[in-house]
């Protein structure tokens, strides 16, 4: 969206501010290790936005910075700000941020192995006190009928079922924004397809905004409307999903689809594209 609109004339319809706005944040672990260096991104309401990049680029750190889960790893946002619905949320504890409506589905599912499916789902609704919880459990079972059949401990579910439980648990919190960290990790291609189908469906049916971190760039860009590409703690490229899919560099490095190139002679790495200030 173009921010530098002309400020003359009658009250032009202001572009709605994005649901989540990350402005130039810097994240430091253990007081010395600089992981994110001036990262900015914005997630418009009702969209799926993909955040792509190689291992160690800082994708998960970005999500944890947003959801306030850095404290467990001795990390902190030292500069910049994170705005959710126009309010600054960096510095808030993770549990407070969940109450604002941001829910993170962590990498590797992280369901509670020694509880049943139902208990896991109930815990997803921990922050809610309304009476709709029972109805929402039924809704989750509608999305994931397989979970209803499983009455044992969640630790014994298959990888795909655990991922579905993790997503179902997120739904129980009725979040406005779900941060998904590698939902395809460790799943078979068929299950990956199923999971992405569900992600789209949630976005479409429930209007939940999703920020998606993925290794599987092709799947992510097919589901997303907008994408960001990260390298070494910075955003190096961003654009609509179709722009990114068409981009030669992205093809080269993330989609792995360009057939012609067989040599690594002309390999280049992204230079930083300055996008803030």
């Amino acid at each position: 969206m173009e921010q530098r609109a002309t400020d003359a004339g009658p009250p032009a319809p202001q572009p709605a501010p994005p649901l989540l706005q990350v402005n130039n944040i810097e994240v430091v672990y253990n007081d010395i290790i600089l992981v994110l260096r001036g990262l900015s991104l914005s997630v418009p309401k009702g969209e799926i936005v993909a955040l792509l990049g190689a291992n160690g680029a800082g994708k998960s750190t970005t999500l944890k910075a947003i959801s306030g889960l850095l404290w467990g790893e001795d990390g902190a946002v030292t500069r910049g700000e994170i705005l959710f619905e126009g309010e600054r949320i960096n510095g808030l504890a993770g549990d407070k941020i969940v109450r604002r409506g941001i829910f993170q589905v962590m990498e590797g599912r992280r369901i509670i192995a020694d509880m049943t499916c139902l208990e896991n789902l109930k815990l997803g609704a921990f922050t809610r006190r309304d009476r709709g919880v029972r109805r929402d459990i039924e809704m989750v079972y509608d999305y994931f009928p397989r979970l209803k059949e499983r009455t044992g401990l969640a630790g014994y579910l298959s990888g795909g079922e655990q991922q579905m439980l993790a997503i179902g648990r997120a739904l129980m919190a009725r979040p406005k924004l779900i941060l998904m960290d590698e939902p395809s990790m460790g799943l078979s291609p068929l299950l990956v397809k199923e999971v992405f189908g569900i992600i789209r469906k949630l976005n479409r049916d429930l209007g939940i905004t999703i920020l998606l971190v993925e290794q599987n760039a092709r799947m992510a860009l097919q589901a997303a409307s907008h994408g960001y590409i990260m390298e070494q703690g910075k955003i190096v490229l961003d654009g609509t999903a179709s722009e990114l899919i068409g981009n030669e560099d992205v093809k080269e490095f993330y989609l792995g689809g360009s057939e012609e190139r067989r040599s690594f002679k002309n390999l280049k790495s992204f230079r930083r594209r300055k996008r803030w200030l």
Binding site: D95, I112, M115
Partner: protein, 295 residues
């Protein structure tokens, strides 16, 4: 034979109390990874507070009891917030030394405030006895067993069905996961200490009613240690079973010692020997969990 049955019943009753205190001990360990060597002092302080309210303030039993429960819950929460919260992330050994320090401090404080002699509780129930297997058992003992069972059921219900109980289990499982679900880990820590202190107070008052209040009460804190390690340090059920086992073993040892062996003092040491043997066979304790892992 009569003596044997008598001692077994005794063991069961005392063991159930050990079990309750061991559950409290495990609760703190599970929720906040602190081995609390001051667990016995929770019994001691709770019992003294209740005794003070009943005999010096002349409150009726039920009020004195409820007020001491409320006081001790607050006490547990405050200890967590003031003393242990700043130690989060510090080495385990420092935290253990702090709880040992708390134990010594509060033992001395109680002696200073209430004296070194055992004090009886005012009579709450008319002392009668009921017949169990043809043996007369004092009604206070039956009450003690009943209270222990009630507490155990309460724990079971709390962890299985209540929102905060589930939150505590989630925190015990993984603190980051718990935070990602919107659970305030700090609150859970404080709550665990509060509940632990409160339930220990119930046990302390029960023992006080049966035997009188004295500094011997903090000995429960030591007995609880083999009980919960025996059962598995991270299992609430394990603490319970371990407690009952320790109670039974003590009395069994007492029986054989007094009847046949005449070595003296087996009563006190047998639980520790059995703990060592069990740990040699099952290093996680009887019910301690190794992680469920899908490979």
């Amino acid at each position: 034979m009569n003596l044997f049955i008598q001692l077994m019943i005794n063991g069961l009753i005392v063991g159930a109390l050990y079990g309750v205190v061991a559950m409290c001990f495990v609760l703190i360990y599970k929720a906040s990874q602190v081995v609390n060597f001051a667990q016995g002092e929770f019994l001691l302080i709770g019992a003294w507070v209740c005794w003070w309210l009943l005999t010096k303030q002349h409150l009726p039993f039920i009020w004195g009891f409820l007020i001491s429960l409320a006081f001790m819950t607050l006490f547990g929460v405050l200890i967590q917030i003031v003393v242990l919260r700043p130690l989060i992330g510090e080495p385990v050994i420092s935290v253990i030394m702090v709880t040992v320090g708390l134990s010594i401090f509060f033992q001395a404080l109680m002696k200073w405030m209430f004296g070194v002699f055992a004090q009886p509780f005012p009579k709450i129930f008319a002392v009668t006895s009921v017949n169990i297997l043809g043996l007369p058992v004092q009604s206070v003992y039956v009450m003690s067993l009943g209270v222990s069972l009630l507490i155990m059921l309460g724990f079971g219900y709390f962890f299985k069905f209540t929102r905060m109980g589930l939150a505590m289990r989630a925190t015990a499982y993984n603190q980051t996961v718990a935070a990602s679900l919107g659970i305030s880990v700090k609150q859970v820590f404080a709550l665990a200490w509060g509940i632990s202190a409160m339930v220990s107070t119930v046990a302390g008052v029960v023992v006080g009613v049966v035997n009188g209040v004295s500094s011997g009460l903090s000995g429960y804190g030591l007995k609880v240690f083999p009980a919960s390690i025996l059962g598995g340090l991270d299992s609430i059920i394990g603490g319970l079973v371990g407690g009952i086992l320790v109670g039974l073993m003590e009395n069994l040892a007492n029986f054989f010692d007094s009847q046949y062996l005449h070595w003296g003092n087996l009563y006190d040491v047998v639980p520790y020997y059995v703990m060592i043997v069990i740990l040699m066979v099952k290093p996680y304790g009887l019910f301690g969990t190794e992680d469920i892992e899908r490979v």
